[in-house]
Structures are given as C-alpha cells and as structure tokens.
Symmetry: C2
Subunit: 400 residues, 2 copies
C-alpha cells in the first residue's frame, strides 16, 4: 500500500468512525441522556414524585424524540455508506467526543437547514450579501473555510457565485454531503434539535419542539448558477503557504498537500470566514492562509464571535520548521500549548492593516446573534454571541 | 474529640484549604494562564512574531494584573486567618477545582462590589425592591440562600429588612466576611476581574481593565437599620424539612442540623432566591425547603436563569430515607444521578401553585441580564442569561 492509499485508508477509517457514531446515536442518547434521568426520577421519594406527576410523560416524550433523531442520523449514515466500504475489523469504536459531536450536529442542522433559524442566519448573511452585491457573481470565486453543513455555499451559489467550501470535521462533511446530494424534499425530515439542552426552558414542550428540515428544496441546488464544491481537511493544510509555516497538527508536509497549497495561491476573489476565525490553535496561520489564497484586490469578510476554541485547552502539540528541500526539521518545539494567541478584534484588524497589506472597508462590533437558539414565544434560551463583522481588502501593491 | 469538635475540625480544614487556594492564586495563575501563553508566543516563527510586536507588552501587562489580583486574595486570606488557626500538617493541598473557584471569585466580586456592575445588579434588585416596598421592613425577616459574597444582604439590610444569608461555598463565605467586616473604604482595592477570559474582546485593554472595589463604604454596614447574618452550609441541610427528605450529599442527619432545621420552620416572611434555584442536584428539595421556612402568607421571590449546574454532571451520589427514631436506613439508592429534574419555569410554577399552596403574584420571563459582563464601549463580552422572575405567596389555608 503506497503513501497515498495509506492516507486514503486512514481517511476511510475516520469516516467509518463517524458513520458508526451516527448509527450509535440512539443507544448513546438513551443511555447517557434519557436513562440517567429515569434513574433520578426513580430515586426520589414517593412524596416528591407526587409533586411532578407529569414527569414520566415528559420522559417518555424525551425518549421518542431521541428515537426520531436516531432516524435522521440513520439516513445520513446510510447515504454516507454508499460512498465508503466499511471494513468492520478496522473500525475504531466511536469515542465520547465523537458521540458528543454527533449530538451537537443537531444544533448545526437546525441552524443551517430550518425555517425557524432564518433570522439567525440572516444576521450574518444580510451583511455578507450587502457587500457581495458590489461584485459580479460569475466572476467571483469565493472560499468558505469552516463551511459546516454547507448552507452558506448553497445560498451563495444560488446567487451565481462560484463557491468552494472547506471543512475539517467529518461529522460536518457527511451531513453536508447528505443535504447537498441526497435529493431531500422540503420538510422531508423531522429532528428534535433542542433535547440535549435541559437548561433555560420556559416549558418542557419548548425543549421537545420538532423542527422540519430542510427548509429549501435540496434539488434546487442542482440548478445553482454558480459552481459549488467542498474540500475536506484543515484550512491551513489545504490552502496555506508552502514556506514559513510551522508544521503542526493542522499543517503537514506531504507532497499532496504541498501541491494543493501551491494551486491555492492567489486563486480566490473572496474569503468568507463565518463562525470560523476563532477555531484554530494559531490564528496567525489562518491570517497567513487568507493572504495566500486571495488574489490582489481580493476581499476577506468575517462574521462571528471571538470564542477561541482552545482558550481553556491545556493540551500541547509539536511544532517545527522544515527545510522544503532537505526535509530537515528545525526549531522543534515539542510542547507548544494549544491555548494562547487569543487576539482581540482590534489586534486582528491592526495586524491585517499594518502588517498584511489589508485596507479596512467596513467594520461593526457587538452584533448579537443567536446560535441554534430556540425562537418560540418568551424563549429563555441562551441569547447567543456578540459578533464581529469586518470587510478587508488585500492591496499588496498599495492599490485600492 | 467529640462529634461536634470533629465537625468543627473538618470545617476548619475546609476553610484552611480555601485560604491556601487564595494564597496560591499568583503561583497558579502565572503557571496555568500566563506561562502557557508565553510559551506559545515563544513557539511561533520569527516572521509571525513580527506580525504581533505588541504581544510581549500585552503578556507583561497580563502578568502584572495577575500579581495585582494576588494582592487582593492575600488580603482576604490574611483577614480570614485571623479567625482560624491553620495547622499546616493537616492542610490538604488545594485542588484544581479550588483554584478554579478562586479565579472565578473575581467575577463574583466584580458583580457584587463594583460600580461598573450596578446596571447588572439593578436588573434583579429593581424587581425585588419594587415588590419589597409593599411590606414593612422592620417586620420582615428575609432569607437569602446562595447569598454569595453578601451584597444583596447589605443592600436590603440598609433598607431596614432583617436579612439572613445562607451560603455553601467557603470561597464565597470568606470573601463575604472580608467585605462585610474588614472595614474597607470605598475604592480601596483594585482587581482585574476579566483577565481569566481570553475570548470575545474588542481590545486587549478591555480584558486588562482595572476595577476599583468596593463601590460602597464597607463601614456603612454597621449603621444598617436591619439585622444581618450569614449561615454556612447547604440550604436544604440548614433549613429543610426534618421528615420526608432523602439523605444526600446536601442533607445530613446530624443532631445539630436537625435542631437548625426545627428552628427554621415557619420563621421567614420572605425567601429570595437570586441566581440560586438552579444550583442543586434536586430542585424539589429546594422547593420543600422554601415552603418549610416560610410563615403562612410568606413570599418567595426568584430571579435568575435556569442554568442547571448538574445538567452535564455524570457523577452520582447515595440517597436514602431514614427513620428519625430508629435511625434505620430505607430505600437506599447508592447511585442517584446528579443530573436530572431540570424543571422548566412553567413546571416550577405549576408545582408551586398546584401542589405546594402557592399563589402566583407576579411573573416575567426572558429578562436578559449580564453576569460579570464587561460594560465598556462596544463590549463584545458574552451577553449573559435570559432570566426568570417570579413572586409567589404561600397560602397553606387558602388565605390571601
């Protein structure tokens, strides 16, 4: 088996592990979410049980909702299995992290593919589209790193833009493949996206709200005027600089990725980072990568909070520089903290304009946006995040 | 050493452990917060270092801020040490949880004792006080379970109400003792309450904002018209029913607590739960306890979110019933989940009115309240919680 096949096999195993986590959702959620609550209920005194007579009915509804979600995950898994031959002996059992990511996909699907979350999506889309109106769609190549389950890709390709998504998570990738290609009809499926959150509810029925998905006809994607594709992998690995970037868990030195990166240079008119820029352990690698893929005069639009994902992660990774000709490793740091470099928005804008030849076109701070928020009457769900929006133009030769 | 002294000794050890966690704050924060970020900075390439030339200055300011916070914790510890003789050989080393609680005290102190957080406090105080205006202060005994570092106690006793606080956390208790009794002058001390959060900042200087505390003259407490005291321990253990409550980590069967609970019965005119009702593993025990302490016609005011603290806690505890005469243990459940019984606000109100003889006086949902939120211009800090407010009157004989 050569290096490329080996990588392909590893990839297949990773995909298989996610597929298994979809198939095991029901077993996991019944055990970790439902059964523990039944046990708690059983443990209280008869007198206290009499105080909440409707609780058993609530628990029964919770169980049914889990089973309904399991149907959704099963159909995503079945669609995915058509594209990969799972070899059971090589399958790693899904970790708790895999299962937790599977559960949180429900929020992501709600956010991206329900009518109820339109106002949430509009919060960023309206700002992005207001800017995009100033450019000619058919001549505009857009890159969307962290494209999630693909909704923004669809919406922009429908407007005629040529869109390329990039996503690191196989959980997201398998779901996006399902929504983009499985030919779903409008409101074909039902999920219960809120059942994994037990706090903040005004009424039990709010938590148990069924949501129809998708809100748009999946088939309409095929009629999209712009092109659409998704590249799997880390943003920095797929699109970053070939020189001057330290090797890390998100950046490798394989021939295949070197070629991918060389091809990406100066290739995009617009990079849109939406709920993405805060996701990596080194935001400077993200900034370098954005510069690397933009054409001169290209645009970087950002919308989202600065909720640095590694802020509290006490893990470390090995980073080092490498000589592209000899492969010699230099400046090895085998315990680089994952936390750190949590830049403020002022700092990011300052680096972009003072060090990376960007010109600030537009900026807005403190935009409250829900994130998978239940929107029923008198909702007490967590309000969401205070988001930052900016538009920066890359002007390497001082042009405007 | 008899049982009471043994309990006293255990209590002293617990207090000592918290005091040590205050004294070790600087060492802990420099190691876990500051040094890891220095290490990350050192690990990036020279080229990337050149992109953020001000970062070393930022790190130096972060270090200074930690050292300033350490001065605050040192003075709280020194004041506390006057009240307890620490015997070093019995001191348990503070856990990571102890240290994490110490760091989060900065948020609590900011919330309760700074002028900057007035609008945050007013969000609940204004509603409570509007109701309290309808009763005669000198004839009103108020109980505030989960009184934190004591600010609401002070504010209400200044208005003439007789206030008793109750708090389970020694971290909180030592800080409340300091603010209530150490004779601090207005703006005497400075803390940097935001430095343990690295996300969401518009500018670095926002994170490094110094805050003067306290905003009120600590000595004015002595002139309070109402009485003021704080009882240490679990709400259910100190004030709960003596019969029909299952023994748990929050409810014991000692003679001392039985006497405390007997004394508490029908003793209060008002119970105020503020950011508290969601903190225990069995909210029904809280409801029982509120009923137990209220006089007929008494009032329960609640303000806060329903952010159930044990929602994601996979731990278990042992619970059982006990015969008060024989001490015989019955209905033992040695693996009661901590999670569970996360009631919606509708469910709580329904239990109160349909099962516990409360009458609903006032109710409001979806009140956005900051929680230790930085309030500077264009703040992008997390918005806070959607809070519930209700006033319920206990009418056991149908009286209004």
């Amino acid at each position: 088996m050569d290096g490329h096949n080996l990588a392909g096999q590893r990839e297949n195993n990773a995909v298989a592990q996610v597929i298994i986590s979809f198939l095991k959702y029901e077993e996991y959620a019944l055990k970790e979410v439902y059964s523990l609550r039944v046990k708690k209920w059983e443990s209280i005194s008869e007198r206290q049980k009499g105080m909440i007579p409707n609780y058993t009915e609530y628990l029964a509804n919770l169980k049914t909702s889990i089973q309904e979600n399991a149907k959704f995950f099963k159909s995503v898994a079945e669609y995915a299995m058509q594209s990969i031959k799972i070899e059971p002996e090589e399958i790693v059992r899904p970790s708790d992290m895999d299962m937790s990511k599977t559960c949180s996909l429900l929020t992501q699907v709600y956010r991206e593919w329900s009518a109820e979350a339109i106002s949430e999506r509009c919060c960023s889309h309206s700002r992005l589209i207001q800017f995009l109106r100033t450019v000619e769609p058919s001549k505009t190549d857009i890159l969307i790193p962290g494209c999630g389950t693909g909704r923004l890709l669809v919406d922009l390709s429908q407007l005629g833009y040529n869109c390329e998504g990039n996503e690191y998570s196989y959980h997201m990738l398998l779901v996006s493949q399902y929504f983009l290609n499985a030919g779903l009809t409008q409101n074909q499926a039902i999920i219960y996206p809120f059942i994994h959150c037990f706090s903040h509810w005004k009424g039990n029925e709010d938590q148990l709200t069924p949501i129809k998905i998708p809100d748009i006809e999946a088939d309409s994607l095929k009629k999209g005027m712009g092109s659409m594709s998704i590249c799997a992998g880390s943003f920095v690995d797929c699109y970053g600089r070939n020189q001057g970037t330290k090797i890390s868990s998100h950046y490798t030195f394989s021939k295949r990725m070197q070629m991918s990166r060389a091809k990406a240079e100066n290739s995009k008119d617009v990079v849109i980072t939406q709920f993405f820029i805060d996701t990596g352990p080194n935001i400077l690698d993200y900034l370098d990568t954005i510069v690397h893929v933009l054409k001169p005069g290209g645009i970087w639009c950002n919308f989202g909070p600065l909720l640095y994902h590694f802020e509290s992660d006490h893990g470390v990774e090995t980073t080092y520089e490498v000589n592209p000709y000899s492969g010699f490793q230099d400046k090895i740091n085998d315990s680089t903290p994952l936390m750190g470099l949590e830049l403020s928005s002022d700092a990011i804008i300052s680096i972009a304009t003072n060090r990376l030849n960007f010109k600030l076109i537009q900026r807005e701070s403190g935009i409250l946006s829900g994130y998978g928020r239940y929107t029923g009457p008198e909702s007490c769900a967590m309000p969401g995040y205070m988001c930052h929006f900016w538009v920066l133009k890359w002007t390497p030769s001082g042009e405007l």
